[in-house]
């Protein structure tokens, strides 16, 4: 297995939306390598004839009747908002400025 580089971790951190300093990236790279070294053991027994299990219960989608029920009020839904305006969540700019 190839070693985990600082650039690899930087890419993962970008995907996970976590800002990291170069020192953190280096530290995480060495830790990740250590952990992957320990967990790659799963490959020893995971042969192609074994079906994967994604969930302990074998259940399919659960549906309920589509009935209108009381839900949170606007104020309740906004009660934890870091910022709000005009009864809506106020968020930083999402699209590039024109």
């Amino acid at each position: 297995m190839a070693a985990i580089s600082r650039d690899d971790v930087a890419h993962l951190a970008k995907l996970a939306r976590i800002e990291m300093t170069p020192a953190e990236l280096d530290h995480m790279a060495s830790e990740l390598e250590q952990i992957l070294g320990a967990v790659k053991r799963v490959q020893e027994v995971a042969t192609s004839d074994i079906a994967p299990t994604s969930h302990p219960l074998s259940m399919s989608n659960v549906f309920r009747d589509d009935v209108v029920k009381p839900s949170l009020t606007n104020d309740e839904a906004l009660s934890g908002a870091p910022a709000q305006a005009e009864d809506r969540f106020k968020v930083p700019q999402i699209l590039g400025e024109e």
Binding site: D8, M28, I35, K40, V42, P52, A77, P82, P92
Partner: protein, 500 residues
Amino acid sequence: MTNIHSTAAEMASALAAKEISSVELTQQHLDRIAAVDGKIHAFLHIDSAGALEQAGAIDKKRASGEKLSPLAGVPIAVKDILAQKGIPTTAGSKILEGWRPPYDSTVVAKLKAAGVVILGKTNMDEFAMGSSTENSAYGTTQNPWDLTRTPGGSSGGSAAAVAAFEAPLAIGTDTGGSIRQPAALTGIVGVKPTYGAVSRYGVVAYSSSLDQVGPFARTVLDTALLHEAIAGHDERDSTSINAPVPQIVAAAKRLDVKGMKIGVIKELSGSGFQAGVSARIAESIELLVAAGAEIVEVSCPNFEYALAAYYLIAPSEASSNLARFDSMRYGLRVGDDGSKGAEEVMSATREAGFGKEVKRRIILGTYALSSGYYDAYYGSAQKVRTLVKQDFDNAFAKADVLISPVTPTTAFKIGEKSNDPVAMYLSDIATIPVNMAGIGGMSLPVGLADEDGLPVGLQIMAPVMQDDRFYRVGGTLEAALLSKWGKPILSNAPDLAGQK
């Protein structure tokens, strides 16, 4: 005389007989918290006013002759991962500091409906990722048996609160051992119910295919009473099992294991386990034989891969679940000065709001799920999950319940493993297979290790939705141990209020 050292069942009887009021009982526990929690740090939030108000309402209902639930008026501590309306819920993370949920989780709603008095919210490893509470953003909980040691985790605050007589009951969650391991390390009873037996609605999600809510208490019967109060189908949790809850309270009272087959898991014994742990497990086996059980040895050869598979599956699911902490609708927001875009603010917030272990697991999960590595890591881990389930199926074909130690060692020192993630992960080696298969398991205190005088836990496991079986075995063994010791295990723990 009913007091904080009574069992929850005794408290419930005294309340029903009006020998004590819920307000008095609640105040006794709040006083105890005020006296000892400075040393233990089991609680992140104490809701004295809310608890006394709830207790007063129960007393009024009782006075008017209203029919009440069995645990009405008995206090409880709740892990800070369950949403409680209007009460701070942090999951041990800075990213949720100050958040007050606008709704109750189903378990909290059930507790309130049953009149169980909620004292406050307990400390935990951030987002339940850890085995010691050292990953909490709000400081470490100390083990009531030895303040230099951890109480285990992630539900360490709940376990410590019960062991330190700050609450007779507590709620925890268990993803890889987070109820059973702290129960073992603090000398109390903890149960991880069958997956889907207790609703996860309103519980901050870590690894959704493994997470399960469960009870802590000082006796098997108390644990059963709480388990029964929180279990049952919930249409708001799509993974909730729609089937009757097994008769666990009756099973806890049965005190008889004649004819039961108890399987000892070969791979979870001997080398790798502290001598004092193995000795107490061997003694428990003798007591079970004396009570009429038949012991069989079973082999679960794939368990040795379960830990590795867990540390791929759980971080993978976590990397997806924790994407919701994006600073947009609730929780922390950092760096929003008008000049930065949403993605930049998101990344700065997650950098500031998540602790080291959480970042480590998100990055690991992101890696395991990324293209090119998915089959080798996440895919392989899912296959190991199949093999672990097969091992359990084969073992349960030969035995009614399975037993093992809960942990390889007794409580470890604070700081001992905090810089070595892989060593910390090993403390869950015996508990993780249960979560992988979705079955239930109990941790029962079975004595103190000779070398350090600290509690040892026995794990009792039963097939899916047969949780009554481990209550039957646990109740029987608990009675045998109590008659051997002549006093409860916690009477050996230091009297914290007297310590200066």
